[in-house]
Amino acid sequence: MAARPIAPGLFVDDPEGPRLVAARCAACGKSHFPAGRVCPYCAADGASEIHVGPAGRLKLFTAVTAKPPGYRGEVPYGFGIVELEAGLEVIARLTEPRLDRLRLGLPMRLVLEPLFTDEDGTPVVTYAFAPGAS
């Protein structure tokens, strides 16, 4: 069965790899994710959609060992901040929960990973970052 993204408009699965759907503001040049028309930095309207990734760099990280409220995946999982191109930083799941395998500045790559299976049997995928250059 075809997989369903955890929410619409967060990522695309291009032939050359997954990309996050962000937006860049024409007025101030800053990018934000998830994409929205209005720039949260400068309030200008009309930010344009950009696709970023898959390469990133790890800025901060930890691991989650107990299921937080509403979570439908498995524990443990990694959790961190990844810096992408265009100065964009995102809070994201990391596929690697073993902290001795992670370090600040580590090259990361965007991946799509299965998270859980819906009530009707549809696999649900989300975005995450895995260690390693893309």
Partner: protein
């Protein structure tokens, strides 16, 4: 603007009270505050109630239960700073002369465990991105990277606050815990251990504000409220301030600047501080953001005995939220009650000698922060 005075304070201890409704908790604190102020029915002109989880018209229910309804009553939600926001709104009514007496209170009965928050969209919850302790942990990691803070330092903060809490009969935890015990407690999210995190719980606090001085002549010299600056965004959905340091002022830094200016005091003038310590890292970051130590100096501050009762500036003499627990809507006003007692010289075994200038600080989702300065 005219001076705003604290005419009376009330507190329901923080803890777990299965047999009491949130309305009963709030009523307890309100009765105490109004009783101390000598303010009866028909003698206050507005009420502001800080609460997050209490539901529709929660403040109205408290006043109705006491036969005090009828005045303009507004429930205020600003995450962990809800009570501070209620105080800021109430104080403004008195300062501008619109009302002479305003009741401010806050109460909460928190669900157990990791706080579930409608702040997060359902997909973020499903994907595991609503993991509040993980955000705390990233903030702590940043302090380790930028401020020379060690895991032992996080333990030292928790040890200090728990030791202080022993002297506070209104705290939930009144047991000293050693640094070793804290370090040995289970890792929640590296580097934070279980005993470095505060527990959500239940409680209530109330403050009666007046244009006339009350017991001890404690004055609200500033009550500043700020939300996250638009230029400081880690994705526009950043649930916690302090995770990113992009050089843009944080809500706490902005609120502190406003409060110091309004009160005409600076960090060196403070005698006692109650600040947000929802986790040990949050205390250290709060200390930096409030200017109680240089930016990046948080680790050195801890290791030099910063915040200890015998230090120049005791921080969280009450035991902080680490000892008291955190009932969201009540926590900020709990600080104000505690600091009022400090300024009146009525804080018992946790009294800071000759305290004249006090600061209370809360920060929470939004992100928003409230900084209150009291002076006698």
């Amino acid at each position: 603007m005219r001076p705003v005075w604290i005419a009376g304070v009330g507190l329901h201890p923080f803890g777990r009270f299965a047999e009491k409704t949130v309305t009963a908790l709030g009523a307890h604190a309100v009765q105490q505050a109004l009783g101390e102020a000598g303010i009866g029915r028909g003698q206050f002109q507005a009420a502001f109630c800080g609460t997050v989880y209490s539901g529709v018209a929660a403040g109205h229910k408290v006043l109705t239960s006491l036969g005090l309804s009828g005045v303009p009553t507004v429930n205020v939600e600003a995450g962990c700073a809800s009570g501070g926001a209620a105080l800021a709104l109430g104080a403004a009514q008195v300062a501008t002369g619109r009302y002479d007496r305003v009741l401010v209170f806050g109460m909460e009965k928190m669900p157990r465990g990791i706080i579930r928050s409608s702040f997060f969209e359902p997909w973020r919850e499903e994907a595991g991105l609503a993991a509040t302790p993980a955000y705390f942990a990233l903030r702590a990691q940043r302090l380790m990277r930028d401020s020379g803070v060690t895991v032992e330092d996080f333990a030292r903060v928790s040890e200090k606050n728990h030791r202080h809490g022993v002297a506070n009969p209104n705290a939930m935890y009144r047991k000293a815990i050693s640094v070793d015990e804290i370090l040995a407690s289970p890792v929640v999210c590296e580097p934070l251990r279980l005993l470095m995190l505060c527990a959500p719980n239940e409680g209530a606090a109330a403050v009666a504000l007046s244009s006339e001085p009350g017991l001890g002549a404690v004055r609200v010299a500033a009550a500043a409220l700020r939300s996250h600056h638009a230029g400081s965004v880690l994705g526009e959905h950043t649930p916690m301030s302090g995770v990113a340091d992009d050089g843009v002022a944080t809500p706490t830094e902005m609120a502190a600047r406003d409060a110091y200016e309004e009160a005409g005091v600076g960090p060196d003038d403070l005698d006692v501080v109650e600040l947000q310590d929802t986790d040990s890292g949050r205390e250290i970051l709060s200390v930096e953001e409030l200017g109680l130590c240089p930016k990046g100096g948080g680790g050195a501050w801890v290791r030099s005995g910063g915040g200890e009762m015998r230090s120049r500036l005791p921080v969280n003499a009450s035991g902080g939220l680490l000892s008291k627990g955190e009932p969201l809507g009540a926590s900020a006003l709990g600080q104000i009650v505690e600091l009022t007692w400090q300024l009146r010289g009525a804080a018992g075994p946790r009294q800071v000698s000759d305290a004249r200038v006090a600061l209370g600080h809360t920060v929470g989702r939004g992100a928003n922060a409230c900084v209150v300065i009291l002076v006698r």
